[in-house]
């Protein structure tokens, strides 16, 4: 018996609906249909009047969630694809994110963003927007990479009084399996050493954690011990765990699936350079997607995002410095 990443997301929502009257689910095609990815399959039957189909109105969906949160509810909004949250951007960054600072009343809502690329999905169903949301004050941004984190971090996100951008990776939905949803249950804001090593640190998050581990496996055949740090949450960013790792290895490669200008990897490199320059034995490196829209064709797509091969190449250059 195994649990997939998307099972974990569904289980977490079921538990939340069962245990907390304040929770409701709102999104396109999520009620009877169970969602484009089936993350809410069967939940509308089990919890009538708690799971609602929304019109194709991402702005209004988020506005509704903000209003409901003001009234003490804990809405979970499913964006059908992270990419479509651009339509809700105003309500997320200007309404939800500023609310606590301006009025003193926190807005406890969770936005689920099906993120990242899958073969054939193209420019508008593949984006990774965590860096954009993390740039705005007032938001918590999480990026679970494991089945257990997908489950526990969704529960933890809903428990927070602040708005949370929960970035779930579509590639992991059915590909990633675990024996159970149990795990170490680290809190939001704490990174995890996924794989210990001593020659270089790869900082990654979401699906890139798995690509980094694959790269580390390959380099292990040549005797290199690569440490992989899974950030788990982008904001807050656990820079202490990253710095501690860099202190052990002296070398840093930050890997992300988002576009290369700015973003999470730039923040990690910047913070490490600022606070841990003396720990570095080589210039810190970044590896991101290319600076084009995410391409449709699987061959182009595979070369657009970081892969175990490109991570290996980057690490070899880093180790040779």
């Amino acid at each position: 018996m195994s649990v997939t990443y998307i099972d974990a997301i569904r289980e977490a929502q079921e538990k939340l609906l069962r245990e907390d009257d304040r929770v409701f689910l709102y999104g396109q095609d999520i009620a009877t249909f169970g969602g484009a990815f089936k993350a809410t399959k069967g939940l509308a039957d089990e919890f009538p009047n708690r799971v609602f189909d929304a019109p194709i109105s991402e702005d209004a969906m988020m506005g509704l969630a903000v209003g409901a949160a003001i009234e003490g509810m804990r809405p979970i909004v499913e964006m059908q694809f992270a990419d479509f949250s651009s339509i809700a951007f105003n309500q997320i960054v200007n309404q939800a994110a500023t609310h606590f600072y301006r009025t003193g009343m926190p807005i406890p809502l969770t936005v689920r963003l099906p993120s990242g690329g899958t073969p054939g999905s193209g420019p508008f169903h593949s984006q990774s927007l965590e860096g954009i949301y993390a740039q705005y004050p007032g938001l918590v941004v999480v990026t679970p990479a494991t089945v257990s984190d997908a489950y526990h971090m969704l529960l933890d996100s809903v428990a927070l009084d602040d708005p949370v951008i929960y970035c779930e990776h579509k590639f992991l939905y059915r590909w990633l399996k675990a024996k159970s949803i149990n795990g170490d249950h680290l809190p939001i804001g704490q990174a995890r050493i996924t794989r210990p090593g001593k020659h270089a640190t790869v900082v990654a998050y979401s699906a890139m954690v798995h690509e980094a581990v694959r790269a580390a496996d390959r380099l292990a055949q040549d005797g290199w011990e690569i440490e992989v740090v899974d950030l788990r949450s982008i904001k807050p960013l656990d820079i202490d765990t990253v710095l501690a790792s860099v202190a052990r290895t002296g070398r840093l490669l930050a890997v992300g699936e988002a576009f290369p200008w700015g973003g999470v990897t730039a923040e990690v490199v910047s913070r490490v350079t600022e606070e841990g320059f003396h720990l570095l034995d080589a210039p810190p490196q970044r590896l991101n997607a290319r600076d084009t829209p995410v391409p449709y064709h699987p061959k182009l797509w595979a070369a657009h995002r970081p892969t175990p091969e490109s991570i290996c190449d980057a690490l070899r250059r880093l180790l040779a410095f």
Binding site: F24, N49, R50, A54, P55, S57, E58, D59, A60, M61, M62, G63, L64, A65, V66, G67, A68, A69, I70, E71, G72, M73, P75, I87, N90, Q91, N94, Q95, A97, T98, H99, F100, Y101, R102, T103, G104, M105, P106, P137, G138, V140, L160, D161, D162, P187, I188, G189, Q190, P236, D238
Partner: protein
């Protein structure tokens, strides 16, 4: 509405004297509409998202004047504590969310508050309302929010104050339908048009719309035609409004019309109105004086955090 006018005249003076930092946005000429809505709502039960020209509606809904003066004058004791200013203020815990500058954005927020009340089993007899201008009807947020409210059959009232200019842009560069109220049919909601300079007519139409929403007839739209009797903000002299319009029917002052209507219909006497004016002026003076004496926010003791959660979590 009288109190709001007196307060706003004072705000204008303070602005011109350099005592207010940032913008001042007045509801001059729109008080009859705004006050009619605020009066039809019940604070503690209904919710109301005012926009930039709703001092009258805010006051009628129960917002104390001191919330206004504290926010405009940057008092640390106001609802926004100097973190936001002027009309960007609210008391969400009292059913009055604080507007953001992005127009149309409060429409789905009110819908969400009503939606939540329904989930909590507390929607019976409740109304949610928001005001908006002609310009904001061109936003996606307005359309999405109103359509959503219609789909959910929420007891919502949207009052559109068509003051004929969105900042400086006239109606004919904003929309192409003959009258905005025609849009109500497209949303499947109630729609009413009224002369926004006429208090008695406005009060009747808006209270009727609020009643219909309260009784379960779904969202209602009221389009009140009027003219802004000031600039977009006090930095703007509104010189783009053509003279014939200013001198025309909608250029008349709703406060003067209202006073005449009250006297002619034996609702109030001239003396009573004069007394309201004096009392309001005194109240405004007190609210301004108090806010002016209060401490302003201190950047050195400000906590500079936008999250209520304290990280790291253990």
């Amino acid at each position: 509405m009288l109190k709001a006018r007196i307060l706003e005249n004072k705000l204008s003076s303070l602005y011109k004297a350099g005592k207010i930092v940032g913008g001042v946005y007045l509801g001059k000429g729109q008080e009859a509409v705004s006050a009619s809505l605020g009066t039809a709502l019940i604070q503690g039960k209904d919710c109301f998202a005012p926009l930039i020209r709703d001092q009258a509606g805010r006051t009628a809904f129960g917002e104390p004047l001191i919330d206004c003066t504290r926010t405009y004058l940057g008092s640390a004791l106001g609802p926004m504590r100097g973190r936001d200013g002027n009309i960007h203020r609210g008391r969400p815990d009292k059913g009055m969310p604080a507007m953001i500058s992005h127009l149309g954005a409060q429409v789905p927020v009110i819908a969400g508050m009503l939606f939540a009340k329904r989930l909590k089993g507390q929607l019976d007899g409740v109304v949610g309302a928001t005001c908006i201008g002609d310009g904001a009807t061109s936003t996606g947020a307005f359309h999405e929010g109103l359509n959503l409210a219609a789909v959910e059959k929420l007891p919502m009232v949207v009052v559109i104050g068509n003051n004929q200019f969105a900042y400086s842009t006239p109606n004919h560069r904003q929309f192409a339908c003959a009258d905005l109220v025609e849009r109500a049919k497209g949303y499947g909601i109630g729609g009413f048009a009224v002369d926004g300079t006429d208090l008695l007519a406005t009060a009747e139409v808006i209270s009727n719309a609020v009643r219909l929403a309260r009784e379960g007839h779904g969202p209602q739209m009221v389009v009140a035609r009027l003219l802004r009797l000031s600039g977009h903000g006090e930095h703007d002299d509104g010189s783009y409004v053509p003279e014939p319009l200013r001198k025309g029917h909608y250029g008349r002052d709703c406060i003067e019309i209202a006073m005449r209507q009250l006297v002619e219909n034996d609702i109030a006497t001239v003396d009573e109105i004069a007394q309201w004016q004096d009392e309001s002026a005194e109240e405004v003076q007190r609210a301004v004086a108090q806010a002016q004496q209060e401490e302003v926010p201190d950047p050195y003791t400000e906590d500079w955090t936008a999250l209520s959660t304290q990280f790291p979590l253990s």
